[in-house]
């Protein structure tokens, strides 16, 4: 049984985008705040803090979750992937990010990291998706700038039927 008293800064470590990171967190520190303020990975954005807008979406052990609805102390020994981990080794955009760039799918960029993490999860499943499947997966994300058309087009470029290249 792990007990963490209130007010105590507790050591937390996890594998963030493949690298071991360490930080300190009170038990009530949200995962979103831990990533942003303790680790300095500010690519994960905070929108509503009640689990609806999707801006804070990250992958924990491969699955998209709301980092505003998790406590930092809950990711001890977990794999966490954030937007910072999507770029290729040389720092260039990955396929999804490139498609977003090509398609004007990001305007202010506030919702973009959360949406890209959900789409990356779909891409990791290595199959084709229909437009409706992509819409349903993105139903948990709010964007105020784009109207979603370009976002879906970018996702379809990468994961729609007939779109996928051989692995890279």
């Amino acid at each position: 049984m792990t007990k963490i008293d209130r007010g105590v800064r507790y050591p937390v470590s996890c594998r963030l985008n493949g690298e071991l990171v360490h930080g300190y967190a009170e038990n009530r520190l949200l995962l979103s705040d831990f990533l942003r303020h303790e680790v300095g990975a500010t690519g994960t954005h905070v929108g509503c803090e009640h689990g609806i807008c999707g801006a804070c979406t990250v992958l924990v052990n491969g699955l998209p979750v709301r980092s505003c609805l998790m406590l930092a102390v809950q990711v001890e020994d977990c794999d966490v992937q954030t937007i910072e981990g999507l770029a290729l080794a040389d720092g260039s955009f990955n396929e999804l990010q490139s498609a977003f760039n090509q398609r004007f799918a990001a305007q202010c960029g506030y919702c973009t990291p959360g949406i890209l993490m959900t789409l990356q999860h779909l891409k990791n499943q290595n199959r084709d998706f229909s437009e409706q499947e992509i819409r349903d997966a993105l139903g948990g994300h709010i964007c105020r700038c784009t109207g979603y058309r370009e976002i879906i087009d970018a996702a379809m470029d990468v994961m729609g039927a007939g779109s996928r290249q051989t692995d890279d």
Binding site: Q107, I134, G139, R144, C145, T146
Partner: protein, 490 residues
């Protein structure tokens, strides 16, 4: 290039890069645009910021002017360096070259560098460095008249929308079958950016038309305080408009002929859809948003299927955000005994849900501290209760207020006691209003929570009247009576 247009994703850097690249004949990769404005040290203007469709007409015009000034200065320098008339020079692919003899050319960056590093090579009357600033304002934007009239817009974009909607008569849901929108915004600087503005504006307008509403109760309490109640369209609700690309009519007043485009559908779309719904329903007046429950009642004026028999008191929510309801129950005690509980502070304290303390502060006025909670939501509140319109042992009115960190509730209840032989029938009706956090985030659950607390009050009253009855009996038999109780409507 630096400027004061402070974008939040509209793509100003891209558009400004294009303008400079076109004017100076250089690659977009060789241009940096920095729009981090600090009015303490940077130039600013009435268009500083990003609003009222000012970027394409105004900021882009200033950018063009500044780029032209840079070109003019570099032309003079190149003309003197290359010994060629200014009129013969063109800026192309990173070179400044003679049109009549293209081999006679210098790199753009060489001329630029020369102006900074070798000012003595410049023409005599010329200042060193190449850095030009342009402020732009349309001369047509004249000051306010004596009658306080002003034309605040230099350029007017045009939009034309039409749409077809279907309304499901069983649910009141409005479905956009097809929406077509055409825009003339003058010169389009970047088609991808322009389309992004149209689609974003349209999505926002769909929200205003079908989903989004700031709801307030009559006392000003905000009721739609989370994204569970303030509804923004997600990809599953989004509608894709058909964009018609018309010929563009350049504005005669802006430097590039460009007008704004970001606002358009915010004006047209709610009206277009509302008109379609008015057409479908034959209705003169349409109120947005088109909440299905509201549209349903426009279609079906009366509820056609009446109740088969007397039914449970409905909970009504009136325009002021007050919940009203009521009920009835029977207690095995005479009316006088029950009355004496209600007017005795110590006994009332035992009956009032979660009451920690209750003191009589003046005639029939009580003050106390209560712990109130339903399920996981709970808090400690200051409570104020006043009894009035006392007609012992028949009727009384209770007026109360509870105040706490989660919000405030004000309520009025009327209790009527009717002799029924050895027992008493109690009929009650109440009105409760809520404000504060609990009202703005807990909307859906308020009426249920109110009912739970009222029922706890009466359950405790029963226990107070029948202390000999065993705990289990109290819990099951008396409680189940409340839940299935019938009453008349007020």
């Amino acid at each position: 290039m630096i400027g004061d247009s402070t974008p939040q994703g509209q793509g100003h850097q891209t558009a400004l890069t294009q303008i400079v690249a076109d004017e100076l004949g250089i690659s977009m990769d060789d241009i940096a645009v920095n729009l981090e404005t600090d009015t303490q040290k940077d130039n600013w203007s009435i268009a500083a910021g990003n609003y009222s469709c000012r970027f394409a007409p105004a900021s882009a015009s200033a950018a063009k002017e500044a780029a032209v000034k840079v070109r003019q200065k570099m032309t003079r320098i190149a003309s003197s360096q290359m010994n060629v008339p200014a009129a013969d020079l063109e800026f192309k692919d990173g070179w400044i070259q003679s049109q009549s003899n293209p081999d006679n050319r210098l790199e753009f960056r060489r001329i630029g560098g020369l102006a900074h590093w070798s000012p003595s090579s410049l023409p005599d009357d010329m200042e060193p460095a190449v850095r030009e600033t342009a402020h732009w304002s349309g001369p047509e934007l004249t000051p306010t008249t004596a009658n306080d009239e002003i034309n605040t817009s230099l350029a007017y974009g045009f939009a034309f929308d039409f749409c077809g909607v279907e309304i499901d008569p069983d649910t009141g849901r409005v479905i956009i079958d097809k929406y077509v929108t055409a825009h003339d915004c003058g010169t389009i600087i970047n088609p991808g950016l322009a389309e992004g503005q149209i689609r974003g504006s349209f999505a926002s307008a769909i929200g205003a038309t079908l989903y989004e509403e700031f709801v307030y109760s009559g006392d000003g309490s905000f009721l739609s305080g989370t994204f569970a109640d303030y509804l923004i369209a997600t990809p599953t609700e989004a509608v894709d408009p058909v964009l018609v690309h018309t010929e563009q009519t350049p504005s005669p007043y802006t430097r590039l002929g460009a007008k704004g485009i970001g606002e358009g559908n915010q004006y047209t779309t709610p009206v277009c859809i509302a008109n379609a719904v008015a057409d479908a329903l034959g209705r003169e007046s349409i109120e947005l948003p088109l909440v299905p429950s509201k549209v349903f009642e426009w279609i079906h004026a009366e509820e056609e299927t009446p109740p088969p028999k007397q039914t449970v008191q409905q909970v009504k929510w009136d325009d002021s955000g007050t919940i009203s309801s009521g009920g009835a129950l029977q207690i095995n005690a005479d009316a006088n005994s029950i009355w004496s509980v209600l007017v005795d502070p110590d006994r009332l304290a035992r009956v009032f849900p979660g009451c920690r303390s209750l003191l009589l502060t003046s005639d029939n006025v009580y003050q106390g501290v209560v712990d109130l909670g339903v399920g996981p939501v709970s808090g400690t509140f200051d409570a104020f209760v006043e009894l009035s319109d006392l007609d012992p042992p028949h009727t009384m009115t209770l007026t109360g207020k509870v105040i706490g960190p989660l919000g405030t509730s004000r309520g009025v209840g009327i209790i009527k006691m009717i002799d029924a032989g050895k027992s008493t029938k109690i009929e009650y009706s109440y009105q409760i209003g809520l404000s504060g956090t609990i009202a703005s985030v807990g909307g859906r659950l308020i009426s249920g929570a109110a009912r739970v607390l009222i029922n706890r009050f009466f359950a405790a009253l029963v226990v107070e009247m029948n202390p000999d009855v065993s705990q289990d009996q109290k819990k099951h038999s008396w409680f189940s009576r409340f839940w299935s109780g019938r009453s008349r409507k007020p």
